[in-house]
């Protein structure tokens, strides 16, 4: 079964050229954790959300591969971290978005979508395989909703067979 049935079309998106501050406001207003970022032709550029914001607040020595594994020896760092967030506000989303995010296509099997969400967290953007345009997103909720719908359909089918 492909995951196209679980797609949420017309998701909230961010646009290339928006600032981090604008997008934080958008995330807060819409009560969502991340948004796909697209260009003027609706081609997906990456994902941006609270994960990317927090990642950019970390010292570079903790963010890098083979870097620091713990920071619990740093006491009283909150004001410094807040300053970093303030510095991040005017940056364009293009500089901080996750361009390596995984994507699925409408015909990607549902199992694969489930695996990707379990491994990389929700949402997973769904793009057109040929032109990279954003078609929607797949989330934990949309997948569960789709599975519940299938259960209902199977139960209805069984009931009909029993009646028949």
């Amino acid at each position: 079964m492909p995951c196209k049935d679980a797609i949420l079309p017309d998701p909230v998106v961010g646009k290339k050229g928006q600032t981090v501050e604008e997008l934080i406001t958008l995330l807060e207003e819409k009560h969502i954790r991340s948004v796909p970022i697209v260009d003027d032709n609706n081609v997906l550029l990456g994902l941006f959300g609270y994960d990317q914001i927090l990642d950019n607040l970390l010292p570079v020595s903790a963010r890098m591969e083979d870097g620091l594994q713990k920071l619990d020896f740093i006491i009283g760092a909150a004001p410094g971290v807040a300053k970093r967030l303030k510095k991040l506000y005017p940056k364009l989303v293009d500089e901080v978005l996750d361009t390596e995010c995984c994507v699925v296509h409408p015909n990607t099997p549902t199992w694969e979508a489930v695996r990707l969400i379990v491994k990389y967290a929700s949402p997973i953007p769904v793009v057109n395989e040929e032109n990279g345009k954003l078609l929607g997103i797949v989330t934990e909720q949309s997948l569960i909703t789709d599975f519940k719908k299938i259960i209902r359909e199977m139960e209805e089918e069984n009931t009909q067979q029993e009646v028949g």
């Binding site: 010292p59 570079v60 020595s61 903790a62 890098m64 591969e65 083979d66 870097g67 620091l68 713990k70 619990d72 020896f73 740093i74 006491i75 009283g76 760092a77 410094g80």
Partner: protein, 448 residues
Amino acid sequence: MEHAVHHAPEVLFGWEPVVVATTVLVASYAFIITEKINRAVVALLGAGALVFLGVLNHELVIQGIDFNTLFLLIGMMVIVGITKQSGVFQFVAILSAKMVRANPRLLLVSLALVTAVFSALLDNVTTVMLVVPITLLLTEQLKLKAYPFLFSQIFASNVGGMATLIGDPPNILIGSAVGLSFMDFVYNVGPASLLIMIFLLVFFDVVWGRKLETTNRARAHLLRYRPAEALEDKELLIKSMGVLALVLFGFIAGHDHGIMPGTVALSGAALLMLLDIYKFKPEVQSQKVHKAFGQVEWETIFFFLGLFVLVYGVEHTGLLEYLGEQLLAVTGGDLHTTGLVVIWSSAIISAIVDNIPFVATMIPMIESTSEVFGGEDALMPLWWALSLGACLGGNGSLIGASANVMVASFAERAGQRISFMKFLVLGFPLMIATNVIATIYFWFVLLP
């Protein structure tokens, strides 16, 4: 099978073994130097080629492999891999920053010293992998450029590593081939390492240290760090330190009883793994042991393995003996001149290419000159010359030693790229200066 093992090798098509072995060695070194193909793969392919072409057979391959070096490397890698989980290395680095009250000038000195001491007891790459991330954090906190700190740590790791048998791969190779003890290195090369380190600290202070400035606020923030929090597992720390102490004792005391450093290191690794796992169920034990062996840099181990076979192949054909004769022809068989040639050629060549294959090739070459100089004992100054030159030469360029490459890689990831030329402009003359100090020490202390 018996027949296959013991028959004398015959080179394919009747080719001259020395020509075949030299061609394979030169081709392998060319690939290793250009770094187009992974060095471990090149070394293994070269070693395989010597067997398939008939220069070596299975028996000779086994003879050529220095298992003591491999065991020493594997054992120490496992011990360090487990020990670092305790957080002790971060603890020491943070503690040293607090001890100098986050004064940038003193911090430059203290972190270089920490790097040098760690490098003497651990391998250099591991040392910089542990020290550089915390350095990047401290310099970011103090709003300082990381470059002076990283530069000084490259030098400190190579100079500190020079002081002991286990500190730098050239020493491991020399020590294992010649049967030198841990204390032989400490007594003979240690003072040179100390002298050069003092010179470097003064130099770094003049060039950078005096000009480093930060705000009181940034310092105050760093002084709030709690080093004890960096210690992740105090029980493991005690076990690790206990085993490390035993291993060091084994290196020192074992030599007189014929116990090789490789045996000591592997036994220490096994003991530490036992102490780390004995409380757990078999499944967890397997996971922990698997993780511990995962800490071994197998690429390095297989590189050494291939290299030993390659060099042995060439040695077996008599080429290195011939080169040794040529060396003596150049130096007129004079030990003093030969020592100078060894120390300077090692330094210059090690700055340009990986010093491990160079040292591996030089060892049998120097061994072949023992008759001329009056026996194996007379060769001792040459071994120290090789150690001094090869270890110090690694500082001559950004690709001179594996630790340099590792620091550069960290700097790049932190957005503070160290360019090859920028490092070379200061690094090469500074390496020459340290080699001058080493030469003076060699001349007055190590030569008879």
